[in-house]
């Protein structure tokens, strides 16, 4: 099920096609990602938006080959045109260290509290690249300056607890950029941070994209954050992609009832909104997937075929969605 026929001439950097991620658990099989397709072109910022359990993080982990041990992925993940799903571990490790970097939600838990920042940053540089410690150290200091850590030459020898959450997240981003990756996967990079600091991280990500041409896959539930930075959006629900397209298209003309409901459910700072329109019910449990459209249980526009058949994804790379209702009209 190819959802997004390409209109651009350039080759996508990453192309995920009909990805299915399942976990074997004592209670049975849990389907985390259920036939998701998306692609990212060089230098592009793609936001993958979804609530908890929507499969957005598992999609990213499948790309980097970091799924939990009981997880299996099927489908196809092409990196610069070559299949990387099922690659042996040492090749995936090389990919992760050289081309695809990842930044996680909580920077404090990603750094070793016993080691200085310098030790942790330099380690990756000297390990499999012919670089001396002195060279690596000065490259690290340069990168810390790029992410606006003041007095980087001295601060690089501090321990993680001596930094604030926002600074640690900038350090994590600096670490991930050391090897000049082509793609940066940022999984909820600002969720643990204050709003003013969140803005700094957004500006930093934009700066990085301009300076290095790094493509960014931004995984988040925050539609405000998405609107500030992304070129394109994929909205995920229950392991499937409900709607995708250029950010302006999805925000100004949301076609899927779920996207519309999400946009109606958030209070906006710039408008005097009346009652928030909530979405009744709960996001579905990944352990019990329903047939048909996964959103049909909570959807106000449900018709008979929503319960029986899964809707096809129709549209282009600029704007596509999977909904029976709008497919008919």
């Amino acid at each position: 099920m190819h959802s997004t026929p390409r209109t651009g001439t350039e080759e996508p950097l990453l192309s995920i096609c009909d990805l299915r991620v399942t976990f074997g658990t004592p209670e049975g099989q849990v389907v985390a990602v259920d036939g998701a397709s998306l692609d990212i072109h060089p230098g592009e910022v793609l936001a993958v938006v979804g609530e908890s359990g929507s499969g957005k993080s598992q999609t990213a982990l499948a790309v980097t080959g970091l799924l939990a041990r009981n997880g299996t992925s099927e489908g196809s993940i092409l990196w610069k045109g070559g299949e990387i799903l099922g690659l042996p571990e040492h090749q995936l490790a090389r990919l992760r260290s050289e081309e695809i970097a990842m930044v996680f939600q909580n920077p404090m838990t990603c750094l070793n509290p016993y080691l200085r920042i310098s030790t942790q940053m330099i380690e990756g540089m000297t390990m499999n690249r012919k670089m001396t410690r002195t060279q690596a150290r000065s490259a690290c200091i340069d990168m810390l300056e790029t992410v606006q850590i003041a007095d980087a030459a001295n601060r690089i020898d501090r321990y993680p607890h001596e930094f604030s959450g926002g600074m640690l997240q900038r350090i994590m981003i600096a670490m991930s950029l050391l090897r000049r990756p082509r793609l940066l996967i940022a999984d909820e990079p600002t969720t643990a941070l204050d709003v003013t600091v969140q803005m700094q991280i957004v500006q930093l990500l934009k700066h990085i994209r301009r300076k290095y041409g790094t493509a960014i896959m931004l995984i988040t539930h925050d539609l405000g954050l998405v609107a500030s930075i992304s070129d394109r959006i994929s909205i995920m629900y229950s392991g499937q992609i409900m709607e995708s397209g250029l950010a302006e298209n999805v925000f100004s003309n949301p076609r899927h009832p779920y996207t519309r409901a999400l946009l109606d459910a958030i209070p906006r700072i710039d408008q005097n909104d009346g009652e928030l329109r909530d979405i009744a019910g709960e996001p579905p449990d990944p352990a019990s997937r329903t047939s048909g459209c996964p959103f049909h249980l909570r959807c106000g526009y449900r018709i008979a075929s929503c319960i029986e058949n899964r809707p096809d994804t129709l549209g282009s790379r600029e704007h596509a969605h999977a909904c029976h209702l709008s497919n008919e009209t």
Binding site: D194, V195, M199, S230, F251, A265, I269, D278, P283
Partner: protein
Amino acid sequence: MLLQIENVTVEFSLPGSPARGRHSKNRLTALAGVSFALAERETLGIVGESGSGKTTLARAIVGMVPVQEGRIVWMGSDLSSTNQDSRRRIRKDMTMIFQNPLASLNPRMTIGQIIAEPCQIHEPGVSKTEIRRRVAETMEWVGLAPALANRYPHEFSGGQCQRIGIARALIARPRLIICDEPVAALDVSIRAQIVNLLKQLQDEFGISMIMISHDLSVIRHVSHRIMVMYLGHVMEVIPSRHLLQKSCHPYTRTLIESVPVPDPKIQKTRELPVIKSDPPLMNTPASGCRFATRCPIARDSCSDSQTALLEVESGHWLACPYCELPPEFESGN
């Protein structure tokens, strides 16, 4: 007035560095002379970044942290001079809802027991059947089926756990509910449900609320007035409906501008806030305005003396002598 906070200061002692011995005089001022009043049926929103003292303020009101200076007056009686017994009676009227819904519920109690507990503590004479009836009634108010009363917290989702927390806060029919980040841990689609539920309960039962959050868009949506805090100080107090047009403290403006608008067209044209560095550490003493180190309009005099919180307009209090009213905020559409 239901609740009056007068010049409340809360300090914590910090463990000293080993060289100076374990009991150093290192103090951290979490709240520095905070004052406000809360009327019946009013919702006051308290907003600020981490370390602004908003949670400490909530804890000071319910008596979970000791107050060093100032007075907390509940319906005319000073809480710091009341004894344990009357304090307990007052606690019946003041309840709290916490951020992490699952962590705030005892995993070994059924939700029926959890919801009933405040009733049993505050009204020991009430019969079991009456308690069961009240639990069922309260569960219905918050949108939970009473048949679920025998289940355990782990069987519920985050949004449902937050409803259980609200039911527990509601069963003793309080006059004030303090909500500490009630929706921060919830999914977007569930957030709106809980926000709407809180608003609806307030209308129905006439409860006053103190709503603490870092999310200005949620705060603005639910509150009548908004109090902006920074490092233990009140920066600005303003009626919610005037927040966008009339708030003028540089910190308030920074917060407003930092909240992204879920519309790429608007977001592209918005001016990004000029904010310097991270918040300073709380234990570094500052003589003047605490925001001076990050403020875009700071002058030399800002770091000299503490700025007083003055009423610049009816209901609008401001702790900055230099800011001007902002140009009309461009709203969407």
